[in-house]
């Protein structure tokens, strides 16, 4: 087992991702804390940042498309829907006063 991450470490990680991708983070602190806690739990259990809102195969090769930031966020979701599947990352111009709902799942249904 590698070094364990704290929620502070993971928050710094997602802040870095947001900055590098020119995104912003969810602005509701309670929900941000929930997402950071989920990512922290996944990292410490699996050894990688599995998406907290998608089920893992506990194998980074099989989960590589859903390692945060997931391939679907980077390729399409943030641009098209203004947010990622988890609603952790948002497009800079997204109107945060709008109700945030789940977006469709792009991951193939044949994936385990």
């Amino acid at each position: 087992m590698g070094k364990q991450k704290t929620p502070g470490d993971v928050k710094a990680y997602v802040e870095t991702i947001a900055r590098r991708c020119d995104w912003k983070l969810i602005d509701r602190f309670d929900l941000l804390d929930t997402l950071v806690a989920g990512l922290t739990e996944n990292f410490n259990r699996l050894g990688y940042y599995n998406c907290p809102c998608r089920d893992s195969q506990e194998d980074p090769k099989l989960d590589r498309d859903i390692i945060c930031p997931c391939v679907y966020a980077r390729k399409s979701d943030v641009e098209e829907y203004g947010r990622c599947y988890c609603a952790l990352f948002f497009r800079k111009d997204f109107d945060m006063s709008r109700e945030i709902t789940m977006i469709p799942e792009r991951r193939l249904s044949s994936r385990l």
Partner: protein, 133 residues
């Protein structure tokens, strides 16, 4: 492409073990028999309510919101955090659920056991409709 090959092999192996269920109730009964230690029962204030079972992830924000919504509405329900059970049993369970409902399983996955209804994902207005109907 190696991971696609592994995934294909896993799916083929899984297809050989998937059982077909006649009803969602029988399936949920089997889930409770196999993973009962992980099934959590939450009491509700409503006197009349459907038999609600939710497949959830312990790390998922939408699942947290869904559990909170059910609690605030006073529904009694059971839930299973599927990330807490071993991968092989979990994959078989998810494949059987997909076979039974024809739906892609995403979380939270809400099941109304006594009404043979399901809803994939958290959507308060859809949940209201499913639970109220």
């Amino acid at each position: 492409m190696l991971y696609l090959t592994i995934m294909k092999e896993k799916n083929e192996e899984l297809a050989r073990t998937v059982r077909k269920w006649d009803s969602i109730g029988a399936f949920i009964g089997d889930v409770c028999a196999r993973f009962g230690a992980h099934v959590v029962k939450v009491e509700g204030s409503l006197t009349r309510s459907s038999d609600i079972f939710a497949f959830t992830l312990s790390t998922c924000m939408w699942c947290t919101l869904g559990k909170r919504w059910l609690g605030e509405k006073g529904f009694a329900y059971r839930y299973l955090d599927v990330d807490m059970i071993p991968v092989e049993g979990k994959n078989q369970m998810k494949a059987e659920l997909r076979e039974l409902t024809g739906e892609h399983v995403r979380f939270p996955y809400l099941v109304l056991v006594d009404k043979n209804k399901c809803h994939s994902g958290y959507d308060p207005s859809a949940w209201e409709e499913v639970l109220g109907g």
